[in-house]
């Protein structure tokens, strides 16, 4: 009946559609941020999106069992790369994050967000359920999360370290570790925060303090947040109109095409643009969690949920940051912010979730076929 061939029809068009709706809006905003030019940002970003979408589709077709089996070795390799960064990494922007491979700059911490989730999920898959509430369930996972998080903190890159930790802990939570552990840890965190704060780098401390009161230093460290709030606030409900943002076009808004692209968008598209983005993101997250819910097998479920959570952390931390609810930590907004490495990580997440989705669909379909 259908003219479209079966393999094409089986592609996850709804997910593609959703991703494209997000990314295309990103291109529009980047076009405006570049002063009404496709280059350098919007065009590049569109090209990357297509490349990485193909990459996601390729990942979706790798046998899940392979991913499961290589997850720990990959984790190990990335951890080794992180150590290498500590030793030989180039200094970029005041922190040591990159390894120069000659042909490209490699940022291992970016992949760690993904690898940590996979590794912890793999660990709990290997662990028998009856041990889920013993010490054995806790310390190896803690190490899997803690060691890379510590290394990334050393770089220092607070935002990524937080995301790695949060992704890993989400998986621990889903693995069924006792609830009191998390409640207790949260209380302990509240107690430790002041001590941890004193151990942060001065510029990190400053960022956090400024976040508490950005207006205290509107021209200095609080400048980013102040200007971002001005951009969002002055946009109103309908925005100032496409290409009419003054905060971004007159350079008052720093990083208006990367970390603060949400503010650039909100200035021109207002609350309506913001709601559009938030709804799209929530749909994406709901899809991820649904895949996790209907997946068979511990690894699939935990991985799908953990990676969905990783995407969520990107979105939540970035948007809270631009709206003045979180300190400036340098986390980009998925599909919107200009930049390759974050898009690659997110597309890998999406690819693995699609893989799990495909796997569970195949199993269920063989079930009733």
């Amino acid at each position: 009946m259908n003219m479209v061939p079966e393999p094409l029809r089986r592609l996850p068009w709804r997910v593609y559609g959703l991703l494209t709706m997000l990314a295309a809006f990103g291109w529009i905003v980047l076009y405006s941020a570049a002063g009404g030019h496709i280059m350098p940002w919007a065009g590049m970003q569109a090209g990357r999106f297509i490349v990485f979408l193909v990459m996601a589709e390729v990942i979706a077709r790798i046998p899940l069992s392979l991913i499961e089996r290589i997850s720990l070795p990959v984790y190990g390799a990335i951890l080794a790369a992180l150590v290498l960064v500590e030793l030989i990494g180039g200094v970029a922007g005041g922190s040591q994050r990159w390894i120069n491979l000659g042909f490209m700059q490699l940022q291992p911490s970016e992949f760690m967000k993904l690898a940590c989730v996979l590794a912890v999920a793999r660990f709990y898959t290997l662990l028998p359920a009856r041990q889920a509430r013993t010490w054995t369930a806790l310390w190896p996972a803690g190490a899997l999360i803690g060691v890379p998080a510590f290394l990334i903190m050393l770089q220092p890159d607070l935002g990524t370290a937080l995301m790695v930790t949060a992704g890993g802990i989400t998986v621990m939570f889903l693995a069924g570790l006792p609830m009191r552990l998390f409640v207790g840890a949260a209380s302990a965190m509240a107690a430790i925060v002041p001590i941890a704060f004193s151990m942060l780098h001065e510029y990190q401390q400053k960022r956090i303090l400024i976040f508490m009161d950005p207006e205290s230093d509107p021209l200095g460290a609080g400048y980013h947040i102040s200007q971002s709030k001005i951009a969002i606030g002055s946009g109103g409900i309908f925005g100032k109109g496409f290409l009419n943002g003054t905060q971004s076009h007159l350079d008052y808004l720093p990083e208006g095409h990367t970390d603060f692209i949400f503010a650039t968008m909100a200035e021109e598209w207002g609350v309506l643009g913001g709601l559009y983005l938030i709804i799209c993101f929530m749909l994406l997250l709901r899809w991820g969690m649904r895949v996790a819910a209907r997946a068979n097998g511990k690894f699939s479920r935990m991985t799908a949920a953990g990676l969905t959570m990783t995407i969520f952390f990107y979105i939540a931390i970035n948007m809270m940051m631009v709206m003045g609810l979180a300190p400036v930590v340098g986390i980009p907004l998925p599909f919107m912010s200009y930049g390759g490495s974050s898009m690659m990580t997110i597309m890998m997440c999406v690819g693995i979730i699609m893989n799990i989705d495909r796997e569970s669909m195949r199993r269920s379909s063989t079930g009733w076929k």
């Binding site: 509430r133 369930a137 002055s234 003054t246 008052y252 709601l275 997250l285 935990m302 969520f312």
Partner: protein, 707 residues
């Protein structure tokens, strides 16, 4: 292990826990999503107004346009102070990034072709500049260089080129003290008012003289330019411009031609000339020389020029017309004689002048050693006989004289638009008792009758006295042509007495008196006047016996003051003039008070003749006051071991320094008035009737016609 609870999970239970917790995680995600949406709504809807305002204040930059300053014009509409188009470049220290400073100054040096010392000056000013005060890099630029900076502004953060107006005084030094000058507002002035206009580059406030006094009407309303700017200060486009409202024009009673003539005619002398209209009291000229060039003050005077001016013994920074106090000398004699006439003096009564008079146990000399013989009031004035006045003063007493002196304006403070005036002293017994706690002595009266002793006047009062003697009306000096009639009440003396005085004063100049040199070089106009010489040192008996030293052989500071009060025409007075040359000494005929006054007066009756004589004279003096000031500066540079070529050595704050120091140089009342101790040994020499010229003095060329 309490931490993990007792329960062990089965695979099925674990799956159930996962499902429950996945729901929890999903809810948390949706919750955060809702929170973000709410937060955005709060910022963008509830607080929209606040952030819209902030966004606008980011985007829109308001630049004040300094208002064009009102002109100061003379009675005929000739500008005494106007504005010139001026392109300038300033640096706002607050907006200058420290790390870029050297690069920016380097680029400016190249674009404006600044000299090394100008660069040093800018760097020096930047070091001590308060953040908001603009530091001048260069002004008086041509359009090409101004444009060169303007087009590269994006590379020059903190640099502010502007097109404005600078104050210009066409007559230069001749109007320096009268008009004053303008300069940038000082930090204190800004602290006081916080008016952003004061720190707008190119805005000047009046610092001295009439510029200061009329600062409010002369300052108009600033314009404003709203521009859209980027975060880096680059102007994207103009949004709106409101033009400035220029300040009001102030019209003076001054005659610009006469004012300049008076300044130039005083030549190398130090002193002041004030000319008044005998019908209205309008001040036609008020020149104090030597002076400074208000143009160099308004541009920011160089430290060197300032130093030169403040060290000059001719005190070019003091407005001598109002702040110089001098003993009036014999110029008071017509006033003294008038007071006696009003109290019943018979003008024909004779006194025998033998050349000296014993008062008490001291001997008072007449300026004429051999004496005048029998002398009446008319000759007493015309020949300036001291003995006549010594005798009569003892008869009538000091109170009579002091009363008349005050009626004629001496010791009086006038309501005139200047920040300060020194109004001198008219002594009387009550005054001396109060001030020195000693009783009045007869020799005090004797001294006062010849304008020595405690009596002190300023040149403006001298002109007022001349005008009141001439008109019989209590004229007061006016500087502003406000269109009102200034009727003056009569001073209340009998006209026949005035006529007697007028006749005597006519003969001072035209009847073989002491002021023959002041005869007007104008046909059919006779001037009346009275000469004076005020001694600044004591002449001892020993010196008198050896022969009094000539003024020319004395150091400048010890020479006598040369004075003259006069009015013309003598029978229908139109103009009155007061002239005081400090330490003039009657040494050189062409620049004595008599010839200077006569030439200045003649300008009012015969402009061309007067100008021709002046141009001849200026050739001998080395040119106009501007030219001589420039030469003086060059000489001073050489003396200081600096290159002779004038180089711009301006400091943005020098003008305000100068203003402060100029005030500091202004004496308190009486302070600077050289006054010989009231001693009976004093003689009272009179006017310069054919002074004998010592060989050492410059030759006097007789361009002043002698009749």
């Amino acid at each position: 292990m309490k931490l993990f609870g007792k329960k062990t999970l089965t695979e099925a239970q674990q799956s159930l826990v996962f499902s429950r917790r996945a729901v929890l995680v999903t809810s948390a995600q949706m919750g955060v999503g809702a929170l973000l949406a709410a937060r955005m709504g709060w910022i963008a809807i509830a607080e929209n107004e606040k952030y819209t305002l902030l966004s606008e204040s980011n985007r829109v930059n308001l630049t004040l346009i300094p208002p064009r300053r009102g002109w100061i014009i003379d009675r005929h509409g000739i500008p005494l102070a106007n504005n010139r188009t001026d392109f300038r470049v300033d640096i706002i220290p607050d907006r200058l990034p420290d790390q870029d400073r050297d690069r920016i100054i380097g680029l400016l040096t190249q674009l404006l072709s600044l000299k090394p010392d100008e660069v040093d000056k800018v760097n020096e000013s930047l070091e001590k500049a308060a953040g908001f005060q603009p530091v001048q890099v260069s002004d008086g630029l041509d359009y090409a260089r101004y444009a060169a900076v303007s087009v590269r502004l994006s590379e020059l953060p903190g640099v502010a080129p502007s097109q404005g107006f600078s104050r210009y005084y066409p007559a230069g030094p001749s109007v320096g003290h009268l008009i004053g000058y303008v300069g940038g507002a000082s930090a204190e002035e800004y602290e006081k008012s916080r008016n952003p206009l004061l720190i707008t580059p190119g805005f000047k406030v009046g610092k001295q003289g009439l510029e200061k006094n009329f600062d409010i009407p002369l300052t108009g309303k600033p314009g404003a330019r709203r521009v859209e700017v980027t975060a880096h200060g680059r102007i994207v486009r103009d949004l709106a411009t409101r033009t400035d409202v220029p300040g009001k024009t102030v019209r003076l009673t001054i005659d610009a031609g006469l004012q300049e003539y008076a300044g130039r005619r005083m030549g190398t002398q130090s002193g002041a000339v004030v000319v008044m209209d005998c019908a209205t009291g309008d001040v036609l000229a008020s020149a104090s020389m030597p002076s400074f060039d208000p143009n160099s003050f308004s541009d920011g005077i160089s430290h060197l020029e300032w130093e030169m001016l403040s060290k000059d013994d001719h005190v070019p920074l003091r407005n001598k017309a109002l702040q110089g106090l001098y003993p009036p000398g014999s110029t008071v004699k017509p006033m003294v004689a008038l007071s006696f006439l009003e109290h019943g003096l018979d003008p024909d009564e004779h006194v025998n002048c033998s050349g000296a008079l014993r008062v008490g146990n001291t001997l008072f000399h007449c300026w004429k050693r051999g004496g005048h013989g029998a002398i009446n009031m008319h000759r007493g004035i015309a020949q300036s006989c001291d003995i006549y006045f010594y005798v009569m003063a003892q008869r009538f007493g000091m109170d009579v004289i002091a009363d008349m002196a005050r009626r004629l304006g001496l010791g009086q403070k006038f309501d005139i638009p200047f920040p300060s005036q020194s109004y001198g002293t008219v002594p009387d017994p009550a005054w001396k008792q109060k001030k020195y706690d000693t009783p009045w002595a007869v020799y005090d009266t004797v001294n006062a009758t010849i304008g020595q002793g405690y009596m002190l006047v300023n040149p403006t009062q001298m002109a007022v006295m001349a005008s009141r003697l001439a008109s019989g009306k209590a004229l007061v000096p006016h500087f502003v042509a406000d269109g009102k009639r200034h009727d003056a009440a009569p001073i209340g003396v009998r006209q026949e007495n005035l006529d007697l005085i007028h006749a005597a004063m006519r003969d001072v100049i035209n009847g073989g008196g002491t002021g023959g040199a002041a005869r007007l070089p104008v046909k059919d106009v006779l001037m009346a006047g009275k000469t004076g010489t005020a001694q600044v040192r004591r002449i001892t008996m020993a010196e008198r016996s050896r022969g009094v030293r000539g003024n020319a052989s004395l150091p400048f500071k010890l020479r006598d003051h040369a004075l003259l009060q006069c009015f013309a025409p003598y029978d229908k007075p139109r103009y009155a003039l007061g002239c005081i040359l400090e330490h003039g000494g009657h040494t050189t005929r062409i620049i004595d008070s008599t010839t200077i006054s006569a030439d200045i007066m003649s300008y009012l009756f015969d402009k061309e003749g007067a100008m021709k004589r002046l141009e001849e004279l200026e050739k001998q003096w080395g040119g106009t006051p501007q030219e001589r000031l420039a030469k003086q500066l060059t000489a001073y540079r050489i003396e200081k071991g600096l290159p002779a070529a004038p180089m711009p050595d301006t400091a943005s704050n020098a003008a305000s320094n100068a203003a402060g120091a100029a005030n500091a140089a202004t004496p308190d009342e009486d302070e600077e008035a050289e006054r010989p101790a009231p001693t009976p040994a004093g003689t009272s020499p009179t006017g310069a009737s054919a002074p004998t010229l010592p060989a050492a003095t410059p030759p006097s060329t007789g361009t002043v016609p002698q009749t």
